[in-house]
């Protein structure tokens, strides 16, 4: 892209068009040579740019951390609406928050933003509330298992533990 721009610009300049072939070719060759000399520094810039883009790219574990915060928020909302569920749901909400904190350590990104307000799972009877939470945990388990399969060596154990924990939540909510 960078290499072709100056040459193309010269081609469309009337002044250059008026020049003889040999002169034009010479100019082009000169431009290419000059650009060729600039390839090394340009490549250097390009590498830096790529580095910047990598920093801005979402970490593959970010969605898992977001999901952990959302699940925690759902459990907190459910037990706020029905305090009788606290002994069951508090440890599960705590676990999701602990997962988010551990994931933040790995990704190097703080778990600052709380998840969006949970969907209205607080309405309805207790069985319906638990069924909705169970379904959410099952989805979370599958997502974590998928990520575990693809996770690099230093992340596999944590992501695996999170997948297993979500499976135990499904069991606990039965």
């Amino acid at each position: 892209m960078v290499l072709t721009c100056p040459v193309a610009r010269r081609r469309t300049t009337p002044h250059v068009r008026a020049l003889g072939h040999s002169r034009r070719n010479l100019l082009r060759a000169g431009a290419l040579l000059a650009l060729g000399g600039a390839v090394a520094p340009l490549t250097g810039c390009d590498l830096l740019d790529r580095g910047d883009r990598q920093d801005q790219a979402p970490d593959p574990l970010e969605p898992l951390a977001t999901q952990a915060r959302e699940l925690a928020a759902r459990h907190r909302a459910a037990l706020a609406a029905d305090p009788g569920l606290a002994p069951l749901l508090t440890p599960i909400a705590d676990a999701h928050e602990a997962h988010a904190a551990e994931l933040a350590k790995l990704t190097g990104r703080p778990a600052a933003s709380p998840g969006p307000s949970p969907a209205a799972t607080t309405g309805g009877d207790r069985a319906a509330v638990l069924a909705a939470l169970r379904e959410a945990e099952q989805g979370g388990r599958e997502a974590a298992a998928k990520l575990c399969a693809e996770a690099p060596v230093d992340r596999a154990a944590l992501v695996g533990s999170i997948a297993a924990a979500r499976a135990t939540h499904v069991e606990a909510l039965k």
Binding site: A145, C148, A149, G160, A163, A164, A167, T168
Partner: protein, 149 residues
């Protein structure tokens, strides 16, 4: 079945999981006789699950041509098992310890092997949760199944 240092490679990681499965199968023999009714049935099912993992690991490690750790005639119990309560406590402990070996295998495996290790870790964690519920232990879950504490 003891807590050990992190394995250094796939063979050691899966070998560790195999020693854990041997011990789990043996322990459920002790556990089952102290339980009755539904709990005894659950213990038999758990024992069968551990046997199945054990057999699969023996086959896998044999096929790979490496050393296959041998089973022992008996294992040292972490505490005496004399009644239902201690049998349930041992069942929880067996599942937690076996989960730790499978978790340790995750970084040393890829593809289908890792999926199998995760399935084993998950099964152990879910059984530990069921045993805690049967034993009346709360909470019934832990935040990081298989993670050394």
């Amino acid at each position: 079945m003891r807590h050990r240092q992190a394995p250094s490679g796939p063979a050691e990681a899966l070998g560790g999981a195999l020693t854990a499965e041997y011990a789990a199968v043996w322990a459920y023999g002790v556990i089952g006789v102290r339980l009755a009714d539904a709990a005894r049935t659950a213990a038999r099912r758990a024992e069968a699950a551990h046997r199945s993992r054990r057999d699969a690991l023996v086959l896998q490690l044999s096929a790979a041509g490496g050393t296959v750790p041998a089973d022992k005639a008996g294992y040292t119990l972490p505490f005496p098992v004399t009644d239902t309560a201690s049998a349930l406590r041992l069942a929880v402990e067996v599942e937690e310890r076996t989960a730790a070996f499978w978790r340790a295998a995750l970084p040393h495996t890829t593809g289908e092997d890792r999926n199998r290790a995760l399935a084993a870790l998950t099964d152990c964690a879910v059984r530990a949760t069921r045993w805690r519920r049967t034993a009346g232990v709360t909470p019934v879950t832990v935040a990081f199944p298989g993670r050394p504490t």
